[in-house]
C-alpha cells in the first residue's frame, strides 16, 4: 500500500520533469529510444569477451557474488556470503524493507533522464551488507545492453551496514555496436564506520548515450571510494556523481580515468559535500583526449561546516589537434575554518619527458606509451589487491594500445 502511494507521488513528479534538460552535457531526446524490457536472456557464452573486458569474471572466481542484467531484466544473481544480500530491485521492493533508500538519494525530477528512468524502471541491483560484515572479495555486476535502440534504465541501491565493508565492481557494456541509451540510477548508503569501494568500468560503443545518476550518503566515520574508467568509443556520456558526507569524520575519494576517442562528447565530474565536522574529500581525474573527442572534466567540493578539508586534482593530456579538454574545478567554502584546494593542468605530453626517455634507449612511440601509462596510473586507495592489480593491467593495455 505504502509503495503504491510512494510510486504515485514519484510518477507525478517524474511526469512533470520529462522535458527538463540537464544543465550539463549534450541534450538527448530519450523518446528516440525504445522503452521496453528487451531481453533478459543471458547466453553467457556469447558475451564472455564483453564481460571480461569490463572486469566481470563469468566463472565468479574471487568474487563474493554477482548480478547480471541484460537490457532491462535481471538475468542472474548470486551471493556467496552470509550477511550479503544480492537481488533485483523488483524483488527487493516486494520482500525487503527498502523504502527508506528508494529514490531518496536522487530526486526523481532532477532531469528528464531520472524521470524516464523511473517511468520505465524494472530492475537493477539491490545489494546490502549487514552491520559488521566484512566482505573481502568484490561483488561484480554486469549491465549488458543487447537490443538495438533500447533505453536501459537500471536502478541500483547499495546499503553498507555499520562497520561493514563491501567492494563493488560494475561493468557496463554493449553486446555489439548498436545505438542505445543507458540511464543508471545508483543510490548508495554507507552507515557509520562502513566502507564501500565502487569501481565502474564502461565499455560502450558508437551510437550510445550514457547518463548515469549517482548519489551517495556517508554516515559518521564511513568511507566511500569510487573509481570510474571509460576508454572506449561512445557518442556521449554525462555524469556528475555526488557524495554527501553527513556524519562526523566521513571521507570520500572520487577518481575518474577518461580516454576520449572518435567524436565522443564526455562530461564527467565528481562532487562532494562536506556536511559534517572533520569530513574530508578528494576528487581526482586523469583525462586523455584523442581524435575529435570533447571532454569536460568537472570537480566540485563544498565545505559547509567548520573543520573540513577537500582537494580537487585534474590533469589532462591532449593527444590530438581536433580534440579538447575543459577542466572545471569548483570550490565552495561556506564556513570559517574550511580548507579547500585544487590543482588543474591540461597540456600535451611534455617533449622534455619524451626526449629523456628516448635518450634512455626507447623509440618515440615507446617513450609516449611510458608517459601515458604513467599518466593513467591511478592511485587505488582501499581497493582489494586483485582489483587494484586488475586495474593496473587495464591501464597498461590502454597505454600501449594508443
Amino acid at each position: 500500500m505504502r509503495l503504491r502511494e510512494i510510486r504515485d507521488a514519484l510518477r507525478r513528479r517524474a511526469l512533470s520533469a520529462l522535458s527538463k534538460p540537464s544543465p550539463y552535457g549534450l541534450d538527448i531526446d530519450t523518446s528516440r529510444f525504445t522503452a521496453g524490457l528487451g531481453s533478459g536472456r543471458l547466453d553467457l557464452e556469447d558475451y564472455i569477451d564483453a564481460m571480461e573486458s569490463v572486469g566481470v569474471d563469468p566463472k565468479e572466481r574471487d568474487r563474493s557474488g554477482s548480478y547480471y542484467q541484460v537490457d532491462n531484466i535481471a538475468a542472474y544473481y548470486s551471493s556467496r556470503y552470509k550477511g550479503l544480500v544480492v537481488k533485483p530491485i523488483s524483488e527487493a521492493l516486494e520482500d525487503e524493507d527498502i523504502l527508506d533508500y528508494y529514490w531518496r538519494a536522487i530526486p526523481v525530477d532532477l532531469d528528464k533522464y531520472t524521470a524516464a528512468a523511473f517511468l520505465y524502471e524494472r530492475d537493477g541491483y539491490y545489494i546490502r551488507v549487514d552491520d559488521g560484515v566484512d566482505i573481502p572479495a568484490p561483488i561484480q555486476a554486469c549491465l549488458l545492453l543487447r537490443s538495438p535502440s533500447l533505453l536501459q534504465v537500471p536502478h541500483n541501491i547499495v546499503v553498507v551496514g555499520e562497520g561493514a565493508k563491501l567492494h563493488v565492481l560494475t561493468g557496463c557494456t554493449v553486446a555489439r555496436e548498436k545505438p542505445g541509451m543507458h540511464i543508471g540510477i545508483s543510490e548508495f548508503y554507507v552507515k557509520k564506520g562502513g566502507l564501500l569501494t565502487f569501481t565502474m568500468i564502461h565499455s560502450w560503443s558508437r551510437g550510445m548515450h550514457i547518463r548515469p545518476r549517482t548519489s551517495v550518503y556517508v554516515d559518521a566515520g564511513g568511507v566511500f571510494v569510487s573509481q570510474y574508467i571509460t576508454t572506449s568509443l561512445v557518442d556521449s556520456i554525462q555524469m556528475y556523481p555526488t557524495v554527501y558526507l553527513i556524519g562526523e569524520g566521513g571521507s570520500a575519494y572520487l577518481s575518474s580515468i577518461i580516454v576520449g576517442r572518435g567524436s565522443s562528447h564526455i562530461d564527467v565530474g565528481g562532487a562532494i559535500e562536506l556536511k559534517a565536522a572533520r569530513s574530508t574529500g578528494e576528487v581526482v581525474s586523469r583525462v586523455l583526449s584523442m581524435d575529435e573527442s570533447r571532454i569536460v572534466s568537472r570537480g566540485r567540493i563544498k565545505g559547509l561546516v567548520r573543520g573540513v578539508k577537500g582537494h580537487i586534482e585534474c590533469r589532462g593530456l591532449i593527444l590530438s589537434d581536433g580534440s579538447y579538454i575543459d577542466a572545471i574545478p569548483e570550490l565552495e567554502a561556506r564556513a570559517y575554518d574550511v580548507q579547500l584546494t585544487h590543482e588543474a593542468a591540461v597540456g600535451r605530453i611534455a617533449e622534455e619527458e619524451i626526449l629523456y626517455l628516448m635518450a634512455k634507449g626507447f623509440t618515440e612511440d615507446e617513450a609516449k606509451s611510458i608517459v601515458v601509462r604513467g599518466f593513467l596510473q591511478p592511485k587505488l586507495p582501499m581497493l582489494p589487491r586483485q582489483l587494484a592489480d586488475y586495474l593496473s593491467v587495464v591501464m597498461e593495455r590502454i597505454a600501449y594500445a594508443l
Binding site: E352, A359, G361, R373, G374
Partner: protein
C-alpha cells in the same frame, strides 16, 4: 683500433646562436675524460649532440664512433651502439617508478626478468636506492637522489661510452662518494669502457681515475692536460690560466 670516439670540427647551432664552434676531441678505449669549463661554454650541448638529441643538430663536422660516422643516426641507434648519457636535470615523470623504468631499459637490452632483477638489486644497493625504487621518477627527490637514480638508469644501459653531465653538482660528500665509486667500479669491470664526465668543480676526480682533462670555453676545447694538475689549477685560479694553456696547439 684504439680510438672509440673521434669528433671532427663539430659545430652546432641552437636557434641562431652557434654554441659549438669547430670542436675536435677524441676518446680512446679505456679513457676517462673530465670535461671542464665555465657555465655556458657548450659542455652540455656537446654531450647532447653526441647522444643524438634532436634539439642539437650538427651544422658541420663529424662524429665517428667505433669507426662509423654516427652524426646522422637517430638517438635510439646510437644508444644501441653503446653511447649513453646521464642528464644533469632529468625531468619528473609521474606514475613511472624508478623500478619500472629500470626494468624497461633492461627488457629493451634483452635481459630476462630474473637477470634484470639481479642487476637492479646490485645497482640500487651500490647507490643506496632501494627505498626509492617504487617512487615516481624524480618527483620529490633530493639533489643527491636525482644524481644517484639517474646514474643507475644510465649504467643499466651498459654503455661503452659513458657520458655524464655534472654527476657531482649539488651533491653532498656522502652522495659524491657513492656516485664516484659506482662510476669507477662500472668502468673497471671492463677495460674497454670509456667515459666523458662534465664537471664544474672537478670533485668527482677524487673518486675516479681520469686519464685526461679538457677545458671547453666558448664552444671550443682550449686546453688539455693531466686531470689532477688541470683541476687543481682551475680550483685555484679559475679558468683564467686555461686561456694560456700550452698543453694544446
Amino acid at each position: 683500433m684504439k680510438t672509440l670516439l673521434k669528433v671532427e670540427d663539430l659545430s652546432v647551432d641552437v636557434g641562431s646562436a652557434r654554441i659549438l664552434k669547430g670542436l675536435n676531441l677524441s676518446v680512446d678505449r679505456g679513457e676517462v675524460i673530465l670535461l671542464l669549463g665555465p657555465n655556458g661554454s657548450g659542455k652540455s650541448t656537446f654531450l647532447h649532440t653526441l647522444i643524438g638529441d634532436p634539439r642539437y643538430k650538427p651544422a658541420s663536422g663529424r662524429i665517428i664512433f667505433d669507426g662509423a660516422d654516427v652524426s646522422q643516426l637517430p638517438m635510439v641507434d646510437r644508444i644501441k651502439l653503446g653511447l649513453s648519457l646521464g642528464f644533469q636535470f632529468p625531468p619528473k615523470i609521474r606514475g613511472v617508478t624508478l623500478r619500472f623504468l629500470a626494468e624497461k631499459i633492461l627488457e629493451k637490452r634483452g635481459l630476462t626478468r630474473s637477470e634484470a632483477g639481479r642487476l637492479i638489486e646490485k645497482y640500487s644497493h651500490i647507490l643506496n636506492l632501494d627505498y626509492l625504487l617504487d617512487k615516481d621518477l624524480y618527483v620529490g627527490y633530493s639533489g643527491g637522489e636525482i644524481k644517484r637514480a639517474e646514474l643507475m638508469l644510465t649504467l643499466l644501459q651498459a654503455p661503452r661510452l659513458l657520458m655524464l653531465d655534472e654527476p657531482d653538482s649539488g651533491v653532498d660528500v656522502e652522495n659524491l662518494a657513492l656516485v664516484g665509486s659506482a662510476i669507477s667500479s662500472y668502468l673497471s669491470e671492463d677495460e674497454g669502457r670509456s667515459a666523458i664526465i662534465i664537471t664544474h668543480t672537478g670533485y668527482i676526480g677524487k673518486y675516479i681515475k681520469a686519464t685526461k682533462a679538457y677545458v671547453m670555453v666558448d664552444g671550443r676545447i682550449i686546453c688539455r692536460g693531466n686531470p689532477e694538475i688541470l683541476v687543481s689549477n682551475i680550483l685555484e685560479h679559475g679558468f683564467e690560466k686555461c686561456f694560456k694553456c700550452e698543453g694544446i696547439s
